[in-house]
């Protein structure tokens, strides 16, 4: 027995993952110099990409790792924009408001979790949709955003367009890096395996001592904060806030697409999915309806034919992990 046990080595870091983590960190640091190098259009595009990465990573943490398939994440995206509008209308500096929006949304997600986190699978999925509808209707009732017509983030007009663009870019980059790091450390810590155990079998996980609700709560609030931050950054890019477009189900459709195509329950997959989505959106986004039909169809095909997504399939085939969020067992060849 002991011979068999010692024949296997538990590994977290591999040479590849050390290189990949370093390259990733350096890349993020290098991106901070983006506004110095790139033109206005590229900066806007990259900011948009960062929002997609955040959304995909949050939805993946929720659905891929914790098994909480939410079709109502647009609730928090919309609330992020709404929180920014509200904070600036109450005199908070606009960039501070953009940074705080995620926290405000996290605060709202706490009472929400009391109702929905008990639910499982499809029940949770649709209950989240109801929650999104409720927040949407409530925001529509608010006169300060002029209901369906919406309002705009006038506070940003005080800034020079170049500065505005740069600050938004840095904010988006910072948020994305911070949230990716949060998911990374969450997965490496105690909660990572707990989440995945809950996803695979909630009762069994509970019976071996996983604190089911608390674990779910952490992921739920993190994902809410992340989607809220994404909504705020989106608002800074668009300047206008129309509840109907921020609380639109299409945001969840995008998240689903990015995560399924890139690779559900892999750390790298959603980032790749976001990159793919970004290019598709850039290239075909103007095709309107057919574009959305295509997105839905590709997501279905990916789910059925490539259930681990692009990156998951590559991982399985070549046995590589770029970022060390799990453990690997390696037979010691003696």
């Amino acid at each position: 027995m002991s011979a068999a046990a010692s024949a296997v080595r538990v590994q977290r870091w591999t040479p590849l993952s050390i290189v990949a983590t370093c390259v990733g960190t350096v890349l993020l640091a290098a991106l901070a110099f983006g506004p110095v190098v790139f033109g206005a259009n590229t900066i806007d595009k990259l900011t948009e990409l960062f929002v997609y990465v955040i959304l995909a990573a949050m939805w993946n943490a929720l659905a891929g790792y914790a098994g909480l398939v939410s079709v109502g994440q647009q609730a928090f995206f919309g609330l992020g924009g709404y929180a920014t509008i509200q904070l600036t209308q109450h005199g908070v500096n606009v960039f501070l408001a953009l940074a705080l929006a995620g926290l405000a949304v996290a605060a709202v997600s706490l009472p929400t979790s009391l109702v929905v986190l008990w639910l499982r699978g499809g029940e949770f999925a649709i209950a989240m949709w109801v929650v999104a509808e409720v927040f949407h209707l409530l925001v529509n009732l608010d006169h300060s955003v002029h209901g369906v017509t919406g309002t705009s983030l006038t506070a940003l007009n005080h800034y020079d367009p170049t500065d505005r663009r740069r600050y938004t870019y840095w904010l988006a980059l910072g948020m994305m890096s911070g949230l990716l790091a949060a998911v990374f450390f969450l997965l490496r810590g105690r909660l990572g395996p707990s989440m995945q155990a809950i996803r695979d079998d909630e009762q069994a996980a509970g019976s071996v001592g996983v604190r089911v609700l608390r674990t779910k709560l952490v992921v739920f609030v993190l994902a809410a904060a992340g989607c809220g931050a994404a909504g705020a950054i989106w608002l800074a890019g668009q300047l206008t806030y129309q509840p109907n477009s921020y609380f639109s189900i299409q945001w969840t459709a995008y998240m689903l697409f990015m995560t399924l195509v890139g690779g559900l329950a892999t750390f790298e997959g959603p980032i790749i999915g976001a990159l793919i989505f970004f290019f598709i959106q850039d290239r075909f986004g103007t095709h309107g309806v057919w574009y959305l039909v295509g997105l839905g169809a590709v997501a279905i095909l990916c789910a059925l034919l490539l259930p681990r997504g692009l990156w998951g399939t590559i991982e399985d085939k070549f046995g590589i992990r770029l970022l060390p969020v799990g453990y690997r067992l390696r037979r010691r060849d003696s």
Partner: protein, 297 residues
């Protein structure tokens, strides 16, 4: 008196929601699948009836053609999408049916455009009985309520008395054991999917007659149906009616208070019922939601 009228209208509206929810409930009860495209399939039924009617067929004939077509859609859906999804785990059907919902909505939009439509059923749309000065009962809502009752009754009879219905209940409880005693579980699933989608189509057709619809009406229908299912406790046929009526009454009373509150009131009743069930009776400690809504696992 105005309130009594709103409650009456709410109850009748509840019949429509129950009709909408029946298929969702059946599919969940038998296959353990929550079909996120359920509302969009109802809208497909609505468009099909509208299209046939527009080609000059009567509403009745359109209905008779639509129902088998949608049953067939259900069979194809089960064979092509749901069967494969289920093999990949319990969460996969959610992902694929959500993808399907997006595809259906946008295909309908591409084909039929942004116009809001309604099927013209002549005087039936506004005929009714004046009970008192303030209470007016429309013929169409009563008809829909009656159809909902009849459908639930027929399903009840089918599930409890007929061999196929019993096979369906057995498969719902344990597909492997059901197969051991000679039940073709795959066939039972196909049958359940056919019934579920056809009833969704029927609800969609009634939507087309009693109100308006467009290509993106599906998600709202799904949410109402789901609320009815959960309030009525999942898996219970007559509970679906109770749930539908609760949502309907909440909406009409909300609308009476303020037109903007109508849908919100329905959602809030749903969330309140959910929260109440979870806090009352100490389910915090045991079983969580499944116990709260009465699912025996």
């Amino acid at each position: 008196m105005i309130w009594v009228n709103q409650i009456v209208q709410g109850v009748l509206l509840g019949g429509f929601y129950a009709l909408l929810a029946t298929g969702l409930s059946l599919m969940f009860g038998v296959m353990r699948i929550i079909n996120l495209a359920h509302g969009d399939l109802a809208v497909v039924g609505a468009f099909l009836v509208w299209w046939l009617h527009d080609r000059g067929l009567s509403v009745g004939v359109s209905l008779v053609i639509m129902l088998p077509v949608l049953a067939l859609v259900g069979v194809v859906l089960q064979r092509v999408l749901l069967e494969r999804s289920l093999r990949a785990g319990v969460l996969m059907p959610l992902l694929t049916t959500f993808g399907l919902a997006i595809v259906i909505q946008n295909l309908l939009f591409e084909k039929f455009g942004a116009d809001i439509r309604s099927v013209d059923i002549g005087s039936l749309a506004f005929d009714g009985w004046r009970v008192t000065d303030q209470i007016y009962v429309g013929k169409l809502p009563v008809l829909i309520f009656g159809v909902a009752l009849a459908l639930l009754g027929a399903l009840q009879f089918f599930l409890s008395r007929l061999p196929l219905g019993r096979a369906m209940r057995a498969t719902a409880q344990d597909p492997e054991t059901a197969e051991l005693v000679g039940i073709n579980a795959r066939g039972v699933y196909l049958c359940a999917a056919a019934i579920a989608v056809a009833t969704a189509g029927l609800a969609g057709a009634f939507l087309a007659m009693r109100a308006t619809f467009d290509a993106y009406a599906g998600p709202t229908l799904l949410i109402f149906a789901f609320e009815a299912v959960v309030i009525g406790r999942i898996g219970s046929l007559w509970g679906t009616l109770v749930g539908g009526v609760s949502i309907g009454v909440a909406q009409t009373i909300g609308a009476q208070l303020n037109p903007q509150w109508s849908i919100l009131a329905g959602h809030l009743v749903f969330l309140a019922v959910l929260a109440a069930r979870l806090t009352v009776s100490g389910v915090w400690a045991r079983g969580g939601f499944k116990a709260a809504v009465g699912i025996r696992s």
